[in-house]
């Protein structure tokens, strides 16, 4: 008999109420007439973002049936999770740790992570090159070519240190090309190179902030699937470093974060007054600036992207969950490799 794949219910509309009635789940969305009724037995997980009310009967029933409930902040940060008495993802986490200790499995995942990062960076650069002219366009196309040339080396990289070298090299080329795609407003200095801890110019400050949003999203996705966020393959293990989150983030950085930053600056949605200069040279977004970015991020999260493996479009905000699930399936042995998401 074929086992049916059960659905996950994601609730992101603020103020929504979820209630249990016999074996069905009633959803009432504010300012929407009527209610939706979903059979509980078709769901194996509920994920709620921000202000959503769940009746205590529903929570208790999910606990009894081992149906997970995950609470996320409105911005996508992981807050907490209910898993019921019978489950617990100890087997998945055990598989995750074993894969980390198996050099062959580890390097295979790490190679795919870096290759996807480079491919997605190349996609972003080629998209930006379409709108550029003259020398800038030539420079961006040349970078895209160099990135393509690096892919065969990545595919045979012998260890993670070498891979990290390729990764750093690709990132440097990527940001050098991004420089040509930026047309920021008057008063914002041109982007020279990526500077972190602390960012010392507006473009770097925005990049850092959006990476933070993306990281929250990916961390939440890893927790939601039941993976240990601190055991990664490219980034290894270090205290207080969510290595798996950093691994899963790589494929999303350019298409989901860098492109949003490009849009916000090129459309003049972020202007000089949205940044403040701190003593010591650091630059950060003001509260107004953060509001602009977060609001844009909320919309950006809804944007559908094609996902080849799923065979349908997936909202940006759910891509990390899909990818964490694919990684979990690889670690459990259901998929022969980790298949990263490739932007298209």
């Amino acid at each position: 008999m074929t086992t049916e794949l059960l659905n996950t219910l994601y609730v992101q509309t603020q103020g929504t109420e979820l209630r249990l009635e016999e074996d069905s789940l009633r959803i009432r969305v504010p300012e929407q007439e009527g209610r939706r009724i979903v059979p509980l037995r078709r769901l194996d997980a509920i994920v709620v973002y921000g202000h959503v009310t769940l009746s205590s009967e529903l929570i208790a029933r999910c606990a009894r049936d081992a149906r997970s409930i995950t609470w996320m902040s409105r911005g996508g940060r992981f807050e907490g999770r209910l898993d019921g008495a019978v489950r617990g993802n100890v087997l998945l986490r055990h598989a995750q740790h074993q894969a980390h200790d198996d050099a062959a499995v580890r390097i295979a995942i790490a190679r795919n992570v870096v290759a996807a990062k480079v491919r997605n960076s190349r996609w972003v650069i080629l998209r930006a090159a379409r709108d550029a002219k003259g020398a800038a366009q030539g420079a961006m196309r040349a970078t895209a070519g160099e990135l393509a040339d690096a892919l065969p080396e990545i595919a045979v990289a012998p260890d993670t240190d070498t891979l990290m070298g390729y990764e750093g090299d690709a990132a440097r080329r990527h940001f050098a090309a991004v420089r040509h795609a930026l047309r920021p407003a008057e008063g914002i200095p041109p982007f020279e190179r990526r500077i972190r801890r602390p960012p010392t110019d507006p473009v770097n400050a925005t990049l850092s902030f959006v990476y933070g949003l993306l990281r929250g999203l990916v961390h939440g996705a890893a927790e939601q699937i039941g993976l240990d966020p601190y055991v990664g393959y490219l980034h290894g293990i270090r205290p207080a470093k969510p290595a798996l989150v950093l691994d899963l983030m790589e494929e999303f950085r350019a298409p989901l974060a860098d492109r949003l930053v490009l849009t916000l600056l090129n459309r003049r949605q972020l202007r000089p007054e949205h940044f403040e200069h701190l003593p010591g040279g650091a630059v950060r977004l003001t509260e107004d600036g953060r509001t602009v970015v977060i609001q844009a991020w909320q919309e950006w999260r809804q944007r559908p992207w094609p996902h080849t493996l799923a065979g349908r479009d997936v909202p940006a905000g759910l891509l990390p969950v899909m990818q964490a699930r694919l990684l979990a399936r690889h670690l459990r042995g259901d998929l022969p490799a980790y298949l990263p998401w490739i932007a298209s």
Binding site: M1, E22, R36, I37, R42
Partner: protein, 96 residues
């Protein structure tokens, strides 16, 4: 497997109205309501047996009628609709 369930419950008595409500509640726990007394259901064999047993416990066999059709493989994703009818998301994740 994909199922289509329709029912007609005799509501001329208060007892019948009660049966109608119980049948509706039961079906809401198994599938999605697409018309007043029509449900589209995705279930496995065990769920179908459970559903049929629960229906037998509720209805009055002399007055009510329930029909469950087994559709071809993934039949619910191949539905022609007109008017206000919409295809239902039986297999995808639900986003509200």
């Amino acid at each position: 497997m994909d199922l289509l369930l329709t029912y007609d419950v005799d509501t001329t008595s208060p007892e019948g109205a009660r049966r109608l409500r119980r049948v509706a509640k039961l079906c809401e726990g198994y599938g999605l309501r697409v018309q007043q007394s029509v449900f589209e259901i995705v279930a496995d064999e065990a769920d179908l047996l459970r559903l049929l047993a629960a229906i037998d416990d509720i209805i009055n066999a002399d007055r009510d009628s329930v029909r469950v059709y087994r559709l071809p493989h993934h039949g619910l994703s191949d539905v022609h609709t007109r008017g206000t009818a919409r295809p239902q998301p039986h297999r995808g994740d639900l986003v509200v």
